[in-house]
Symmetry: C2
Subunit: 226 residues, 2 copies
């Protein structure tokens, strides 16, 4: 079992987050990759409900999770951590330069061409929910997201994974698209839904998800008196 | 002079774009990197004012520029192209794994933690300009951008570049922050403004910018009759 408090590889994660974020926090990406290669890691927990300690910003400039360190690197940004892990293990990322760079291109496409089209909808549907402007803004941002998903769907076609086999590119796309759970926008793209399902069916994903969720369950805040 | 129609490395770019996008189109990132290492490249021009040819989506799934190819790779996403070029030339990216991955982490921070906070403001200020919802939406998205820039500013501090020396991380951050030209949000972060100015002062940047702009000047559409 990769979670091992004596491991030299360390991932930061939150002790607890509200329901809408459970199973989506980005340490999941790193946990999943580590599970794919059976590499042990320890978890350092931070409190998401309080400001992060000042010194944490040296590790993660935005105060987010995950930060990662092992005996080679000290890193932030889940995308970079995945590239690092991939550069150490061919099961995550091919060593051939052409194939390796294709996977990195898809990974960055998820981070810079797909996920940025999702973020305004999180503002509209969660963080600023109910504010009048969100009703008129929603269709504009949904249209943008739809056009990006259409391109991804056409690029994936009927392939099992983005390139010949599972890589960190698929891992990233699956975790990005999972942020759309609860909405209906993926209904128009059955092949993307099927990709997410294939990713979620992988035993490594299942273990990573269970480990993230078990921390939240253990640290569930006491219900407030009514 | 790197632009050379016989070069095997090829970058796609637009023949012409409106003023607000001139000097910001993302082939600039790749041109700049190639200029830094004096590597020749040819340019294949696409028409931004018409739908892209169907077959172009095989090269660039979102129909955007740049796509890139050389004798090793066929790539899209400017971030991935910079990592590829960096992996071939230490002047762009250190070879030591710890230093290399730090630069990649900063590059991805620009693409996934900073630029996504800029994109909704382009929707608000340019693509949906004047629509009533944009007035109420603007402060919400500006606040988010401001908090991300504050983190980047504190991380940069009084350093010249993000890490010990200029890398693709700085190149990416400078080109991302240049999208804020014309606005005042960078006024609160003099060290980020100074970083942009240092980047823009590099001779390689100047040549890359001049080459992008000269194509637009040559292909300026005829004024429409009034």
């Amino acid at each position: 079992m990769p979670v091992d408090s004596t491991a030299t590889a360390e991932v930061t994660a939150f002790r607890w987050v509200p329901d809408f974020a459970q199973g989506l926090v980005r340490d999941l990406r790193v946990r999943w990759a580590l599970e794919e290669i059976g590499r042990p890691y320890s978890v350092r927990l931070l409190d998401a409900t309080k400001p992060r300690p000042e010194e944490y910003f040296c590790e993660q400039p935005f105060g987010q999770v995950p930060a990662f360190r092992d005996d080679q690197v000290q890193l932030f940004e889940s995308g970079a951590i995945l590239i690092h892990l991939g550069s150490q293990d061919e099961r995550l990322l091919p060593t051939d330069q052409a194939q390796k760079m294709r996977a990195i291109a898809w990974l960055i496409a998820s981070l810079n061409s797909v996920e940025p089209a999702i973020f305004p909808l999180l503002m509209i549907n969660i963080f600023n929910k109910g504010e009048p402007w969100t009703e008129d803004a929603r269709p504009k941002f949904l249209e943008r997201l739809h056009s990006r998903l259409k391109c991804m769907s056409e690029a994936l076609g009927d392939k099992e994974w983005l390139e010949d086999r599972f890589t960190i590119a698929d891992l990233m796309l699956v975790t990005v698209l999972r942020q759309l759970r609860g909405g209906r926008v993926l209904d128009d793209f059955p092949n993307l839904k099927a990709l997410v399902a294939r990713g979620e069916a992988r035993p490594a994903f299942q273990r990573a998800l269970a480990d993230q969720l078990s921390v939240f369950a253990e640290n569930q805040p006491e219900p407030q008196p009514a």
